[in-house]
Symmetry: C2
C-alpha cells in the first residue's frame, strides 16, 4: 500500500502552526480578501477547516472502522462556517482549529491503524466506496490545497 | 498608487517563519520531493530564495534608487542554488534565509520610501522598465507563489 499514516500525520499535525504563521496579526484587509463573489476568504477557510475537524475526517474514519451495516458518510456541509464563525475573531478560529486538530491527531495515533484498517471502506455520498487510506490521504491533500490557496490570497490588498 | 510598502513588508517579513513551520523536521522524503525532471524540491527553492535575497530584490532596489545613468539590473541566476547549497542541510538553509530576509527588511524599513521613490524605475533585462513599486510587489508575489508550490510538494511521498 502506497500510504503511510505516519507521513500524513507529519503534515496534518503542523497545519495549525503553518496557518498561524501565515495569518496571525495580519492587517484585516488580507484575511478578508477573497477571489470575488462566491469565493472564500482566509477567515472562511479556517471556519471550514474547523467544521471538517468536527464532522468530516475523524467521524468518517469512525464510520469505516465501526461494525455498522450501513457505512455511508453523512454529507459534509460546505457552508456551515458562515453560521458557525459568526462573532468570532480570526485568532479565536485559529485557536479553535489548533485545539481540535491536536485532539484528532491524538485520536489517530491512539488507533494504531493496521493495514487491514487502512483497506477498510466506507461509502462517500458523492464518490462511492473509499478506503480509510484514501480518506486520510484526501484529508492531507485538502490541508495542502487550502494552505496554497490562502498563500495566494495573502496578496497585498490594492 | 495601488501599492503599499507596509502591506508588502507584512507578508515578506513572515515568510521565513511560514517556511520553517512548513518544512522544519519533516522526513527527508518530503523536502527532496519535486514534480519530476527539471523541477525543484523544497530544498532547491529555499536555496533559490537565499540567492534572491543576496542578488535580486534589494540590489535591484539599490540600482533604481542610485544616481547611476545605466539602471539595467544584473540578470538573475536561476540555477545558482545548485552550487551554493551544496553540503548544507535544509535547516541551515532556512536559518540563512531567515537572517538574510531579516536584514533586508531592516534595510527596507530604514529607506522610508516616498511615493517618488516608488515611482522611480530601473531596467529589467527581460521585461524592460519597472518601477520600484512593481519590483516590491513582484517580490511579495514571488514569496506567495513559492509557498503555495512548496505546500503542494509536501504531499506525502508514495
Amino acid at each position: 500500500m502506497n500510504f503511510s499514516v505516519s507521513k500524513s500525520i507529519e503534515i496534518l499535525e503542523r497545519t495549525p502552526t503553518v496557518l498561524t504563521a501565515m495569518l496571525q496579526n495580519l492587517s484585516p484587509g488580507f484575511t478578508s480578501n477573497n477571489e470575488g463573489a462566491d469565493t472564500w476568504s482566509a477567515y472562511d477557510i479556517i471556519g471550514h477547516l474547523i467544521h471538517g475537524e468536527k464532522t468530516d475526517w475523524i467521524p468518517r474514519m469512525e464510520i469505516i472502522l465501526s461494525g455498522k451495516q450501513d457505512k455511508t458518510f453523512e454529507p459534509f456541509d460546505r457552508f456551515a462556517q458562515f453560521e458557525n464563525s459568526k462573532g468570532k475573531s480570526l485568532e479565536q478560529l485559529l485557536d479553535e482549529f489548533k485545539t481540535l486538530r491536536q485532539k484528532n491527531m491524538e485520536l489517530l495515533h491512539a488507533k494504531k491503524l493496521t493495514e487491514n484498517d487502512l483497506a477498510a471502506t466506507g461509502i462517500h455520498p458523492a464518490f462511492g466506496e473509499v478506503t480509510l487510506a484514501q480518506l486520510l490521504s484526501a484529508w492531507t491533500i485538502h490541508d495542502l490545497n487550502h494552505i496554497a490557496q490562502i498563500s495566494h490570497w495573502r496578496r497585498p490588498p490594492a
